[in-house]
Amino acid sequence: MADFEVPETREFPVIPTIMEGAMAHSSPYLAKEKFQQELGFPGDGQLIDGWKETFLNKLAEMLGKYRSLQVFMDICVKCGACTDKCHYFLGTADPKNMPVARQDLLRKVYRRYFTLPGKLFPKLVGAIDLTEEVIDDMYSYYHQCSECRRCSVFCPYGIDTAEVTMAARDILAHIGKGQKYSNEIIAKVHKIGNNLGLPEPALADTLEGLEEEVEEDIGVKVRYPLDEKGADILLVTPSADFFAEPHVDGLIGYGKVFHAAGVSWTISSKASEAANFGLFIGNYENMREISLRIREAAKELGVKRIIFGECGHAWRVAYNFLNTLAGPWDFLDPNYPVPQHILEFTSDCLDRGILNIDKSQNDHMTLTFHDSCNIARASRIGSFPGSQFTIPRKVIKAVCNNFYDMAPETIHDSTFCCGGGGGLLTDDLIELRIKGALPRMEALKNVIAENGVTHMAAICAICKSQFTKVLPYYGMTMDQIVSVHQLVSNAIILEGQGEEDEDEDETDEAA
């Protein structure tokens, strides 16, 4: 891999002059045959025989299956509104990372083979032949898009590059070029139930360990149940929550909130993964297979409600697609939306005043909040448009005294992607991830300098992993990214909490 420099952060964002080919060398590892086959794809990283015909047939099929793809191929007017909106362009200056140019990698081929002007006068309308070079370009640059949809906010028609990226990745997989990282992870979910390949005994062990840790910490026995039949709530959370930092502190927080609310809940070893990488590779069948595990688990365990933990793209799939892919949910309690987000649960608890909070427990921190792309632009938490912005901040402010937002053009639906989403959270793309994080890092540094912010909270497992990795490259530390439910966990006082300490204090005094 080429040596690269971490981009310099500046006080005000700068739109770079284009540098052609700046990131042409970036491309993730290809999936080997096993990890193509298990997902229903052919090949092993090399182009299959008859790849050109297969590509065009698959493209034709997709154009007939997804209105978004067909319409977006036709209606782009090249106005350039999106060109300076993508964090990967801002961080790399490679013009193919401008959303419109990224779409054009596919659009130029579409024009050539599917439109009259493209067939008759290709050079006039920017249509190109499908060649191996074009395929390599597509594989490279469609893995430089995190499917964050920032571009679609600013497009006059709402053209969503993510739709094109997903379609392109699916087509590429069907001619032999699948991505190792995403494919291996999906295979693990199909086989074992979660992205990490954690089998039931390992999960049980991990959760037991959490119970012990929490009991030792606060003197209250908080349960983290696994596969418990008849529980009210099925918690589906990203598998990173089971052991990664700061994710696991969020999981500890969910447990405490459930405990305070007096609800029975359980995790399922069969559906031990909220994340759904089928979304990233744009493959409906795989996305559905993963979602159906949740349906099976909910039925087997006889739960009444499903709640998702802190995860970005998982919530997009859960909120928008779970009903479509794995519904109908008429066997669950109709009084609750299916599914709910843990923040909806916690926010409701706060509204009802059933959580005992000591905000001073978070006084050593001054917080800001990172709106994750899939929460901001691709789903909703709560009951009105935009409540996905207000609810996390409300919960943070309910448990912290010090909070400042980053610059308005970098938050809410203009939020900058962390740079690691959409199947790109892999070391073979580390240069891209670091450069793509630039706009968010600049916004963060500004509130650190101006408002004394010390920590950034997030509700997405990928954001948390990306930031722990990338913050040190920008001169910050990996513990500066925290989970929202970690803040809740710090501040919540459960019944019986602290009594052991009091007894110890009395014993100390008596001695």
Binding site: I18, K65, A81, V100, L124, F154, R295, Y319, N323, P385
Partner: protein, 253 residues
């Protein structure tokens, strides 16, 4: 009738046929392809009325473009508003004085604003053309057809302005020709060069329309990211092919 007039009668019918058939064909295509997943860009409206409001803001104010880049918004918006005003003014050539619409079209304000619009249109287009030429990011994504489209419309607006301010055509005869097309009572077309340039360019635009990015006009109404209602939990969204898939494998039973 002159040979020229016959030619242009035929060309007009041809261009109208291509425009209408082409656009209808595309609209049918967009309508028939399913949108199997809820992919509205959030924050998104929770009701149909909300979607109408979302579209109103986009179509009237270009609000997403305004958020994106003020300069493109200024030139693009002025161009489109000017186009609308010029269109209203041109209705005088297609509407008979007996029609109930005539008093509206004939209003001084419609006629005058139509003229100012001609200038505004050219200013807007020059701004957009300049941006395409001089901003490296926009130049990079532009094909020859992107420049030519602007040149085409500028030439139409320019020749129109010339006809009004410099070299008048016989508008009485022109109107008779146009109305003749609608009533199948064909009349002669004035033969001056400027008019022919203007009309030929307009015919070219009509023929190109269904094969070009001008499809953004019908297409934008079919962008799921903007027209979908944000209610996936409340109402199950299922495409016909997905329903078939379910019925076949029974995994959603």
């Amino acid at each position: 009738m002159t040979a020229l007039s016959i030619l242009y009668v035929l060309l007009f019918y041809f261009a109208i046929a291509v425009l209408v058939a082409g656009v209808v064909n595309k609209i049918l295509q967009y309508a028939r392809v399913p949108a199997p997943l809820k992919i509205a860009v959030t924050p998104a409206p929770l009701t149909k009325g909300g979607v109408v409001w979302r579209y109103f803001n986009e179509i009237v104010f270009f609000n997403s473009l305004f958020r994106a880049t003020k300069w493109t918004w200024i030139f693009g918006w002025i161009f489109h508003v000017a186009l609308l005003l010029a269109f209203f003014r041109h209705l005088r050539y297609a509407i008979s004085p007996d029609s109930f619409l005539w008093p509206l079209i004939n209003l001084e304000v419609v006629q005058s604003f139509g003229k100012y619009a001609g200038f505004a249109m050219v200013v807007g287009l020059i701004g957009l053309f300049g941006r395409r030429l001089f901003v490296d990011r926009v130049r990079y994504i532009s094909a020859p057809s992107d420049y030519l489209m602007l040149v085409l419309i500028m030439a139409i607006a320019g020749s129109g302005l010339f006809m009004h301010y410099v070299s008048h055509t016989d508008i009485v005869q022109l109107k008779a020709f146009i109305l003749g097309l609608f009533y199948f009572d064909w009349q002669n077309l004035p033969g001056d060069t400027l008019l022919l340039v203007h009309l030929t360019l307009v015919l070219a635009l009509m023929i190109i329309f269904p094969y070009s990015k001008l499809l953004h006009v019908p297409g934008l109404f079919f962008a799921p990211t903007r027209y979908q209602i944000d209610n996936p939990r409340e109402k199950r969204h299922l495409a016909p092919w997905a329903a078939e898939m379910e019925a076949r494998d029974g995994k959603n039973a």
